[in-house]
């Protein structure tokens, strides 16, 4: 238990650093190698922030398995796409789910959801999508992500975050436990060649 708690602290700091500096990629610590389970990083994240006070929603094929495991480890409540505090998305077409997620209100924008998107790999190669905003010194680039439609995502992102301070914050996580965060304040633009 003590061990888990200290891992939680280390991983929270990595995540906090990534959320504060949206162009940086962090690697979560893991006390054991769980190579068989592609969702290990996901459980890690769940354990880090979820408790009985919050709700979550899981999309995709093995959602019920994942959900029940998250419930046992965190005692968080399973909720709908529209009302969950945390969304775990891993399927290819995520725009629908993101569009449905809650964005908070102008008075309480912190009630906007946090979307965790599980992808194959976050590469260290830059894409052609330019990032600017708080936490980014001058400018930076969205990393290339295998099998992830950045054009579609950037459109969805702009749409759900067009009424700032209402909006949704994103955390990308891959099977190597690499994470990358895009808060609602970031501007994503396609760089014209």
């Amino acid at each position: 238990m003590i061990e888990n708690e200290s891992i939680n602290q280390v991983n929270f700091r990595i995540m906090l650093s990534c959320m504060s500096l949206p162009s940086s990629i962090g690697i979560l610590e893991c006390p054991f190698e769980d190579k068989k389970n592609p969702f290990a990083s996901l459980y890690f994240f769940a354990q880090l922030l979820l408790d009985p006070e919050v709700s979550f929603f899981v999309s995709g094929e093995s959602s019920s398995d994942i959900s029940s495991k998250i419930v046992t480890t965190t005692k968080a409540t399973i909720s709908t796409n529209e009302s969950a505090d945390y969304l775990f998305l891993s399927n290819e077409d995520i725009s629908v789910e993101i569009n449905r997620a809650k964005k908070g209100t102008m008075e309480s924008p912190e009630e906007g959801a946090t979307c965790l998107i599980f992808i194959k790999e976050i590469s260290h190669e830059p894409s052609s999508f330019l990032l600017t905003g708080p936490g980014i010194e001058d400018f930076s680039f969205f990393p290339l992500m295998e099998g992830f439609n950045l054009i579609e995502f950037s459109r969805t992102f702009a749409k759900v975050n067009c009424e700032f301070p209402m909006g949704i914050d994103f955390i990308f996580i891959d099977s190597l436990r690499q994470i990358f965060c895009i808060p609602r304040t970031t501007k994503i633009e396609r760089k014209v060649q």
């Binding site: 280390v10 102008m106 008075e107 946090t114």
Partner: protein
């Protein structure tokens, strides 16, 4: 273990009282961590949190302390300052408590620290990306000067209705021919929220703009957390013809290290009433003296 063994054990050694690492229980830390992430995502917006009772007085830094205890770990080095000084009584008291509940290295050196908890100052030395500055905030709502009700100020923030505070400044100028706000000067964060920077001097306000480190603010009694991520636009509110001005120390320097580009404490000499000046940031001053 059977009952007899337990009873023997119980009667023989009264176990010392055990605190969690960093005092707070894991669920409390989780709540604060969630709120910190949201605060970072919405710079300058005050996120409400439950705020636990700490064994130091409400208003004595319990908000900052809860933030520090939720983020700190074995790899950290901590610095605590009050009014710029590492040795003031409240800073010492907070350090004593943190050391009691998590045995981590403590430093006076701004450059060495990974987490700095502060009351009313930003250190003179430039902060870096790997550092977090945690502010203790007495009253997080800057709009309190014009409206006491939280319910109303929350709506004003929602609507970005800041005409009241502009009017306040305008009337201030009419009355005094000057903006009378001393410490805790209102700032506009990321062109959206007007925010209380905590009672830091105006001298420190420009340091907030595009600061390289994460700035976290905790108000324990008022139960609010807010943040400024690194590289964020932070501007003091001002008029075209009435500019924001920092405290004027022109012609004055630190009597110990001769620094001129720093915030100074004014010292009154007991007998003559003459004034001298010293660096408010004591560890920076010591560093310069040792050069």
């Amino acid at each position: 273990m059977n009952g007899k063994e337990w009873l023997m054990d119980q009667q023989n050694n009264k176990k010392p009282f055990f605190y969690n690492f960093a005092y707070l229980d894991e669920n409390t830390k989780k709540e604060i961590r969630r709120k910190i992430l949201k605060a970072v995502a919405i710079p300058g917006y005050q996120v409400p949190f439950a705020s636990r009772e700490m064994p130091i007085g409400r208003g004595w830094g319990t908000g900052g302390l809860q933030l520090t205890l939720s983020i700190i770990g074995c790899a950290d080095t901590l610095k605590v300052i009050d009014q710029g000084s590492d040795d003031s009584v409240n800073a010492i008291n907070i350090k004593k408590f943190i050391q009691k509940v998590c045995d981590i290295p403590i430093t006076n050196d701004t450059k060495e620290a990974t987490v700095i908890q502060t009351r009313h100052r930003i250190p003179e030395e430039r902060l870096e990306k790997n550092q977090i500055l945690v502010f203790q905030v007495p009253i997080p709502e800057i709009l309190k000067i014009i409206e006491p009700s939280d319910q109303v100020t929350k709506r004003m923030h929602a609507e970005a209705d800041y005409s009241g505070i502009w009017l306040y400044l305008y009337e201030d100028i009419i009355h005094f021919n000057e903006i009378s706000i001393g410490a805790g000067y209102p700032v506009m964060v990321n062109h959206r929220y007007i925010m209380d920077p905590s009672p830091i001097p105006r001298f420190d306000i420009p340091k907030m703009n595009h600061n390289r480190s994460l700035l976290l603010f905790g108000a324990g009694r008022e139960k609010r957390i807010y943040a400024i991520p690194p590289f964020t636009d932070v501007e003091p509110i001002e008029f075209e013809d009435f500019k924001f001005r920092t405290e004027d120390f022109s012609g004055k320097k630190c009597s110990k290290c001769n620094a001129t580009d720093v915030y100074l404490d004014e010292i009154i000499d007991d007998e003559s009433g003459a004034r001298s000046y010293q660096c408010s940031d004591t560890s920076y001053c010591e560093k310069r003296c040792q050069l």
